[in-house]
């Protein structure tokens, strides 16, 4: 009976999440493109061989990694500071919390174009400021060395509220007594952060890291609209490359391969992180 109640939901989940992975597994072992008349023809792992030697895929993988590491890192630091601020009691806190949530609630594509206007050369406000300060043009969206950071900035703006909320929920589970006891013992406020706050917040930090890493690995909407992967492919992500292969080059076999590979790489990153964490936990008793 219990299973019966859950069956429709579980079937739909299996269809939407499970079926694509099976289908990609199969497609990645076939050539299915314009050359084959869009009909799948087995090609003995040629897609995977091509992937291993495809510089564009590996460059995109590195770029996705760079984007993910820097933006998730910045988000964690910023969100921690904001959560500390919102955890204190002051008037108007509720309204401020709601207002800071707005960037997260708006569609990514919508504000991605908003940011494109802000970064615009020469009419955007940042460029105007730089001009007023007598700097040379920033070219934030056309300089391959810097455009990825513009994407990071837009992403940090959008997703920090999500991390902030999770960390704030964690902060609110820490009893005030702990801090007063710490102060009675002569501890300084600053030391309390490393002695009490961070250790007790660890589970919340880990869960936000997990969520944000997975989301950043699949970054698509933001980059598609903000830069289209440019300039010179310097911001293209794995998801975009897969999208291009399917929708522009009509190479479904290779697109499937790219998506599976992207998923495997993400799993590898998460598994390695989990393993390292486990090891550091096992080692800790030895140290003390």
């Amino acid at each position: 009976m219990n299973w019966l109640l859950a069956l429709p939901a579980l079937l739909l989940i299996a269809l939407v999440f499970g079926w694509p992975m099976l289908r990609y597994g199969w497609l990645s072992l076939h050539a299915s493109s314009v050359l084959t008349g869009l009909e799948p023809v087995p090609n003995q792992g040629a897609n995977w061989a091509r992937l291993l030697e495809d510089p564009r895929f590996w460059q995109d993988a590195l770029q996705t990694l760079r984007f993910g590491v820097v933006s998730v890192g910045l988000e964690m630091v910023l969100a921690f500071a904001i959560a500390l601020l919102l955890d204190q009691r002051w008037r108007g806190r509720g309204v401020v919390r709601a207002l800071t949530l707005l960037p997260w609630a708006l569609p990514t594509t919508m504000m991605a174009l908003g940011w494109r206007w802000i970064f615009n050369t020469p009419y955007g406000p940042l460029e105007q400021l730089a001009q007023a300060a007598g700097l040379s043009p920033l070219n934030l969206l056309s300089n391959p060395d810097w455009t990825w950071f513009a994407a990071v900035m837009a992403d940090v703006w959008k997703t920090t509220p999500f991390v902030t909320l999770l960390l704030l929920a964690g902060l609110q589970t820490i009893p005030d007594d702990l801090y007063s006891a710490f102060r009675l013992e002569g501890g300084k406020t600053r030391q309390a952060i490393t002695a009490i706050t961070l250790p007790l917040l660890t589970p919340y930090i880990l869960i936000s890291l997990l969520f944000r890493t997975a989301q950043a690995a699949g970054v698509f909407d933001l980059i598609q609209v903000l830069t289209g992967g440019g300039p010179a492919g310097s911001t293209e992500s794995i998801a975009q490359y897969a999208y291009l292969n399917a929708m522009r080059f009509l190479d479904f076999g290779y697109s499937s391969t790219v998506m599976l590979a992207g998923f495997l790489l993400l799993s590898l990153v998460i598994a390695t992180a989990a393993l390292l964490l486990q090891m550091s936990r096992l080692l800790r008793p030895l140290k003390s």
Partner: protein, 272 residues
């Protein structure tokens, strides 16, 4: 101490709101003034962007309507599937529950953009493209993992005795759910519903590939289409006006349902 706190709060608000306020200002600035600083202040302003937007073909409110329809349908469908499922799953043995929780949690984490190609194939196979009704299906599937996580922990919070007592009173399964249990987890259902709605309202890659007819586009796709229409000259004024109009419903939603959104996000991630 207090003064430095006000400073930080101000900085936080500026950082969060300034990009949006800039859009607001841009939306009222005439196209000429956007690309020239020489125009005197009193001649810079215009309502033309809004006028163009609302008299366009299709008019802008059409996209808002489409997004609202898709969001509403997805929310209803997901909740119809998720509430009974969560009830059933919450009553299973602890070992089974934790297996389910890990599986469903992994699906909730999955970067779903990677699913678009296989889902598009399904849409073509079963002719589900260009239908606001049909797109609610993949959306419900994508939103279900988070919905299940939230609702399972809500049902787990209810004492088992309650269910047993209702059964002894002779209430059937559906009546127990509808009359006894669901009223008790209304807050969880509300916050789950709002998160599902936001997801469907904002979703991009699936909508991009499933919907192509101009009058069926949802807001995110319509927005991105403006961006792609001409790489060199995006009509930023009209676009900013679109951002403002598109944000208003969400602004209202966030301000009204702040508590539910916060509860949903934190419970979903932390308890799941």
């Amino acid at each position: 101490m207090n003064r430095s706190r006000s400073l930080w709060i101000t900085l936080l608000l500026v950082w969060s709101l300034l990009p949006m306020i800039w859009q607001l200002i841009t939306s009222f600035t005439s196209s000429d003034a956007l690309v020239s600083t020489g125009i005197p202040f009193e001649h810079r302003w215009t309502l033309a962007h809004y006028r163009d937007l609302l008299s366009g073909d299709p008019p802008f409110w059409r996209y808002l309507l489409n997004s609202t329809v898709v969001g509403g349908l997805t929310t209803v469908l997901t909740l119809l599937l998720a509430v009974p499922a969560a009830y059933g799953l919450a009553r299973m043995s602890p070992t089974r529950r934790s297996t389910i929780r890990i599986t469903v949690g992994a699906a909730a984490l999955f970067p779903y953009v990677l699913l678009f190609l296989a889902l598009l194939e399904l849409a073509r196979e079963f002719q589900l493209g260009n239908s606001l009704l049909a797109i609610a299906l993949p959306y419900a599937g994508l939103a279900l993992p988070l919905a299940l996580l939230l609702l399972i922990s809500a049902f787990e919070g209810l004492p088992n005795d309650l269910d047993d007592a209702a059964r002894l009173e002779g209430l059937g399964l559906l009546d127990r759910l509808r009359l006894v249990l669901m009223p008790l987890i209304t807050p969880a259902i509300a916050s789950t519903g709002i998160l599902i709605f936001l997801f469907a309202w904002n979703e991009y890659p699936i909508a991009l590939t499933w919907l192509s007819r101009d009058d069926l586009l949802t807001l995110p796709v319509a927005m991105a289409r403006i961006a792609g229409s001409s790489i060199y000259a995006v009509p930023y004024g009209a676009y900013a006006a679109a951002t403002v109009l598109g944000s208003l419903p969400l602004l209202a939603l966030v301000l009204l349902c702040q508590r539910q959104i916060v509860a949903g996000l934190t419970n979903g991630a932390v308890k799941g």
